[in-house]
């Protein structure tokens, strides 16, 4: 019988053996086997050597930039993404639907295209970069450029997480609070923010997770100076190009481990949100 011991309950439907078999085979061949190749390659490096590669000064500088810029970008998105989601949910204005559709542009636009476009807009001779240069700020080819690129990439994660949560906010509570004399800020802090906070935290974590691995949109605007504007994914590419396979394997293994940590964090945040909202419903 297809399925065997691990089928939990019988089903009148056919095709379990075929679809389950194909799914696990395809998953194993194109995803798990390659990932295993990286893990085993990294495991083959002597522990002291691995540690030295991971704590190399240039690598540490790249973590600082990748994680710092991703965190800052996710925080910026938490603020502005919230305002955008609020505008889309609470207000009616001409072009609202178009704006709502545009939010997904960073998902649809190839990262290389956003990369060269941002680099052009923010370069010292670019449309926006010129104006910023007058104020003494340079974005392109500095760490600020990395942040800008990651804000673009992370925006939809925050807006799309917060939108449904904002729709759920109970307007009666706001009205009641207002009728009892609560000011706008008070209503926001005591009623709106607590309801939306789990969604905001989810959006922040998703944007952060995407940010630490992002490559295409960053490399054109960041300048790629070792120790200064070099993100970890780029350092992996550089090590690979220099045939430093151990170095690439060590950093790749670290980034893969961070992906698992982020998956775990996202599950944790979502679980926290569900418990919190479940509690709030009583």
């Amino acid at each position: 019988m297809a399925g065997g011991w691990f089928r939990r309950s019988p089903s009148p439907l056919p095709g379990f053996g075929l679809t389950f078999g194909f799914t696990t085979f395809f998953l194993s061949t194109v995803i798990l086997l390659p990932l295993a190749a990286l893990v085993i390659r990294a495991a083959g490096i002597a522990p002291s050597e691995l540690l030295a590669l991971l704590l190399d000064e240039r690598a540490v500088a790249s973590y600082r930039l990748s994680f710092g810029a991703a965190a800052l970008a996710a925080a910026i998105n938490a603020v502005f993404g919230f305002i955008v989601a609020w505008s889309l949910v609470r207000y009616d204005f001409p072009g609202r639907r178009l704006l709502d559709t545009m939010i997904d542009l960073p998902f649809a636009l190839p990262t290389a295209v956003s990369g060269i476009a941002l680099a052009t807009v923010f370069s010292p001779t670019g449309w926006l970069g010129q104006k910023l240069a007058l104020a003494g700020v340079q974005v392109a080819y500095t760490w600020l450029g990395v942040v800008v690129a990651l804000v673009l990439i992370g925006l939809p994660f925050v807006v799309r997480s917060v939108q449904p949560a904002l729709i759920e906010v109970r307007r009666e509570l706001e009205d009641a609070a207002e009728s009892l004399g609560a000011g706008g800020f008070h209503v926001f802090r005591r009623i709106i923010l607590p309801t939306v906070l789990p969604a905001l935290a989810t959006g922040f974590t998703l944007a952060f997770a995407r940010g630490i691995g992002e490559y295409g949109s960053v490399v054109f605007i960041s300048g790629n100076l070792p120790f200064e504007t070099e993100i970890t994914p780029l350092l992996i590419v550089i090590k690979l190009e220099q045939y430093d396979y151990d170095g690439a394997a060590a950093l790749g293994f670290f980034m893969l481990a961070m992906s698992f940590v982020m998956l775990f964090a996202i599950n944790l945040v979502q679980g926290w949100g569900q418990r919190r909202l479940g509690l709030g419903a009583h």
Partner: protein
């Protein structure tokens, strides 16, 4: 999604403070999105047409650019059907049956979304590269994968793996299988049941997943960049061709190819929105 259920301030009495807040928040939203989304999109168009429509068109007569467009189309023609087939199979197994380790399977399917595109390329190097597990074996038989088209296809499969499955699993779970069971009990065969009952039921969700998958496949840069080797006219996809032209300061040509990719992104958004309206599927 906000559609249809959003609260409009217009029906409610607004205090002066609320009106001011509305004005300020809308201004911030428009400013932020204008700066972040419209300015780059405008820059792509402006740069692509900087020397006129003639120069823009001229860019597409470069044989290397034509080859990159062909390679991108070829990659999509292989990867999108492969991941669609996988998505349907995975959704059928996961949404229709109970088995041990199901949630682990779902997590593993989502894994490529959590992994950096650079890692997606890197793992293939350790598997098929000269130093990799199968490197020697492949080299002896003169079957290159890394720095060749098969590597590009595999890297692209990796990063676009979850799109269709992830759209179909919740949809099929929610739809249930009563109609399929009825058809089977009336004597329809499994394939007929799938084609006549299941496929029509899931068609919008399937189309939605395919649209998103295709956009990612055609636009992928990081993963493909690691395994491609950047051989002109041979292993450059459109995003890689954009990079090469840009790094050569050939801005009109770089942005011309980029404008084509931007057009693809806009078409993707339009198609996605149409499917959402037609079917009531929400975005994420």
């Amino acid at each position: 999604m906000a559609r249809g259920v959003s609260w409009t301030a217009e029906g409610r009495r607004m205090t002066r403070g609320a009106k001011l807040a509305r004005l300020v928040l809308l201004a911030i939203s428009f400013g932020f999105l204008g700066l972040l989304l419209l300015a780059p999109l405008g820059a792509v168009l402006a740069q692509a047409l900087a020397k006129g429509v003639g120069a823009w068109l001229e860019s597409f007569s470069d044989p290397d650019t034509i080859a990159s467009i062909k390679l991108t189309l070829l990659t999509a023609a292989i990867v999108v059907p492969a991941n669609t087939l996988f998505g349907i199979a995975a959704a059928w197994a996961i949404a229709r049956f109970e088995f041990r380790g199901k949630s682990l399977l779902v997590t593993l399917i989502d894994l490529p979304f959590a992994v950096s595109p650079v890692i997606a390329g890197l793992v293939l190097v350790f598997l098929f590269g000269v130093q990799g597990w199968f490197g020697e074996w492949l080299q002896e038989r003169n079957l290159p994968i890394i720095f060749a088209v098969p590597g590009i296809v595999l890297a692209t499969i990796f990063i676009s793996f979850p799109y269709v499955a992830r759209e179909l699993i919740p949809l099929m779970q929610q739809q249930g299988s009563d109609e399929e069971v009825a058809a089977l009990s009336l004597g329809a065969g499994p394939w007929l049941t799938f084609l006549r009952i299941t496929l029509p039921k899931i068609r919008w969700g399937l189309l939605y997943g395919v649209i998103l998958c295709n956009a990612r496949v055609m636009g992928e840069f990081g993963a493909v960049s690691v395994v491609s080797g950047h051989i002109r006219g041979v292993t450059n996809t459109m995003p890689l061709q954009v990079e090469i032209l840009y790094n050569e300061y050939n801005f009109v040509a770089a942005f011309a190819v980029a404008s084509l990719l931007a057009l693809l992104a806009i078409l993707t958004l339009v198609a996605k929105t149409l499917v959402e309206w037609r079917s009531g599927i929400g975005g994420h």
